[in-house]
Structure formats: C-alpha cells, structure tokens
Amino acid sequence: MSKYLDLSIKEIHELLVDKKITPLDLVDEALERIEENKDLNAFITINDKVREEASALGEVEPDNIFFGIPIAVKDNIVTKDLKTTCASHILDNFIPIYDATIVEKLKENKLLIIGKANMDEFAMGSTSETSYFGTPLNPHDKKRTAGGSSGGSATAISGGLVPLALGSDTGGSIRQPASYTGIVGMKPTYGRISRYGLVAFASSLDQIGPMTRTVYENAALLNILVGEDDKDLTSVKKEKEDFTRLIGKDIKGMKIALPKYFVSDIVDEEISKRIKEVISFLKENGATVDIVDMKYLDTAVNLYQIIAMAEASSNLARFDGIRYGYRATSFNNVDSMYEKTRGEGFGDEVKRRIMVGSYILSGENAKTYYDKALMVRDDITKEFNRIFKDYDLIIGPTTTRVAPLLGTSKDDPHKAFMDDVLVIPVNMAGLPGLSVPVGKSSENLPIGLHIIGKAFDEATIYRLASFIEEVF
C-alpha cells in the first residue's frame, strides 16, 4: 500500500506538482485505508463519485496546496447529491439538493470529499455513541471513545484515513474529540464561517471548524473556510488574513491566563501535571502565565444545557415526516403522524433533549430558564472580555480525563454533558478555541491543551499552538 497520505500536505502538493502522483492515487489510497479500517466506523457514507471527481480535476494548481487532497466532512453538513444523515434514522435516506456554503468552498479549492464522517446523532453527545450507524472507535485504543460529537472526523484523522476533516462544535464537539484522539481541532470565532447548510442544533452556539494532524494544516484550511455569506447573516465580514502568518514565531512577551477552575480537582492529576509542564515550558520561553480567578465558568454546563436544549427543540421541529426524512407508516391523523414519525425516527439522546427543550420554552418557563441563562451567558462573556483586557490567550486542559472506555456514559444523561465541562464556556462567549496534543498519558492516550483566544484572533492561538506542537 502506498504511503502518500502520511506525508504533510505540502509534501503531497510537491509530488502532485511534479506529476509523480495524481489526485486519483490519493483517493485510492484513502479508500483503501478506509476499507481496511472499517471497524473504526469513521464514515457513514463514502462518496461513490470521488474517483470520477479526482480524475476530472484537471491540471494541478501550483499555488493551491489543497488541490486534490481528500477530506472528510461531518455528516451534519449538507452535500448535494451525497447522502447526509446527521447520524439519525430520521434522515437515513436524505439526499440534499444543495451544497452547504462550506462545501462549495471545498469544491472551489479542488478538495475531494471522500465521505461523510460519523458523529453523535444531530451532534448531541460527547462520545459519538448516539449515532444510528455504530460508534466510531479511538484509533489509540479501540475500546475507547474517539469523543464526540465529531468523533468520526477525529477517528478519520487520527487513524490516518484522511489528512483533513471538517467538524462542528456547539459545546466542544471539535476540540474534545481532537483531544481524545491526539489531533488538532479548532472551533473558530462564532461568525467566522458560514453555517448555511450545517444542520442546525443550537444556532447561537454552532460553528464549523477544521480538524487536522498539524497546526499549520489547520490554519491553512481555515484560510479557505472563512468569509461572510448572504445565506447566513450571522457570518461576519472581515478583512482577508492568513491564519498561518504567526506560525513559527517565538512566544516572548506573550501574556497567558490560566483560570483556577481549569486546574481544579475536576481535572485528573495526570492531566494537571502535564499542563503544569507545559506552563513551565512557556515560562522558560519568555511568556508569562498567571493563574486567574474567573467567575461563572462553573455555570457554563448549566447554561449550555438550557440554551442548547431549548434551541434544539425549536430547530428540530422541522422533522415532521412531511417534506423530507423518515415518515411513520401507521398513524390515525396528522398529529399522530408527527408524534410517531419523531418517536420512531429520533434516538434517546435527541428525544431527551427535545423534550426538556420544549419544557424549557413552554409558557413562563422560558423566563425562568432560557432568559436567565441568556443573562448569565452575557456575564460569562463579559468575564472573558475582562481577562482579555490583560491577556493575549487563556489556556487549560481540553478535557478533565483521557478518552474514557466506551459504554461508560451511555444512558447517563448528565455525564454526557460533563465530558465537555472545560470546552463549553468558549461557545457561550462565541470565542475561538483550539485543542493541540501535548503528549500522552501513562496509558499511552493523548492529552490535549486547550487554547482560547480573543474574538477573531485565531492567528495568535495558532502561534502558541505551533510553538507547543514542536516540543510536546
């Protein structure tokens, strides 16, 4: 078997430019790897036209390092004529009639969509075990979770099946699986990337982002994903910038904050120890790292539960068995058609969240729960902004523990949220956050460092991440 996909994107690009290989070689290698590692359950659907698409790409574009590179796309991002299931029975035959804006961008840049990555059903979960199509496994230990909800994307990168993937992050769903599988995952600032064609879960929190093997490849991929879009009016217009521009720079004078909560007793000792080693390293290299008090961090999971479940209950009302998706076969009237379609079509985690979300938004409850959560959300955001007056970045561990064994949080509705306790605050404030690997535990499982930046300052996150990546 060829090994081109183990090379960096830059090296692959050189081989393509020198005509030593073709995009079809890369696609064939990826398909072969996916087939050989079928037990990893990284994909729900393989793009059966991808070989044709590879052959049709034409002349190599020497200035486009992504030309002909295979990429995995999380299965909640719609792809025209390519099945998009959200890992749910209710959409198991859904063939989108348009491309998400982000998919148009991949195609314009001549990336090749190899298939649709497995995930938690409608991105609800933290271990990808809520998928209707089996659970993606962690390539570092197949008895363990690859995290969630972008578990399939993380498995695909970590298992060496493809070099690039897209995930989505509502409450840590890019960064937490990246940490569990030892890859680089970025949730950009809310508004950086168009959400048009991302099947909505919690619209005020959702954001698409790149998942890659290295920091450089992550930043380079982000370069082509960003930009405002008239089809998503929450996407923000910004000057074009190169997110790789600070990679390779030193970190002298950088001011970094470490909130006490991120190294409190909720974090496993081994992980805290590794974070302390990272901090010593940063200080030795001229950065200042201060431990700071930050209010409201411990309320973030609570806010997330309320906001995400409420918004999900509203967003998922569209699944009614009429316009698309599964429809129950036996019912008496239109009401029972809705109820049976949704009862038979959704899995347990999704049902729980929609039910509690509907309760949260019913009558006076909307004030008690949702409005209050939005008030505290505003406070947590102000708290981040207060810290960012004095600091360039905030760091901490991405997760409280290494990847847990499969089956340990299934059917426990509370645990599913606690896996994301350290990453959720970032979504509340809409800030960019990235997980970068910082070595392995005594059990040889990856540990991730979480780096949080100011709004729209992804470039500084990449600067620190690349500096750390060189050493750990």
């Binding site: 923000v236 609570n302 509690v356 008030m375 505003d378």
Partner: protein
C-alpha cells in the same frame, strides 16, 4: 431514585410531539428527572445582571437586500418527501366535513 410521574413525561413528550413506548416512558421518568434537576441549578445563580445575550455577534448583525435569487425547481423541492403524488406531497386528511 427520584422520578418524574408518568403524566409529567407524557406532558413533555406531547410538547415535543414525540410518541413514547411504555418502556420509554419508564426509562425517561428517571432520565428526564436528572436533566430537570440539572437545569434547575440556574435558579441558584444569584449574582448576575439582567442584560441578555442572544448571539455573540450582536454588533455585527446585518441584513441583506430582499431580492430574488436562485430558486429550487418543484421537482427538487419535493425530491426528499417521503410520500408524494406527481408534483404534490401527500399528507393525512386534515379537515373533516
């Protein structure tokens, strides 16, 4: 273990338009109680101001011109409908005499 009543589960299932089997009702009596207790913790937050945050990008919110853009064909629009007849989507009878 603390549980919701059967009626409470059926009430939220109705709000959500989700039918449940007997087995699910029993399971969700426990599981929904856990989540209801979780969301109740918001009541314990005392120190907060009353400004609400609806989206992280309020300052940048914009509108676009209301102009006709690309449109779907009727065929495309109903291509994923689970029940159709010619160019129509089939639904159960909704109005009785």
């Amino acid at each position: 273990m603390d549980k919701l009543s059967r009626e409470e589960v059926l009430h939220v299932a109705h709000l959500a338009r989700i039918s449940l089997t007997e087995e699910e009702i029993e399971k969700f009596r426990v599981q929904l109680k856990v989540l209801m207790d979780d969301i109740d913790k918001i009541k314990e937050v005392k120190d907060y101001d009353d400004e609400m945050m609806f989206t992280p990008i309020e300052e940048n919110a914009r509108l676009r011109e209301d102009v006709v853009g690309d449109m779907l064909t009727a065929k495309e629009a109903i291509s994923n409908a689970p029940k159709k007849n010619g160019s129509f989507i089939e639904v159960p009878v909704m109005i009785n005499e």
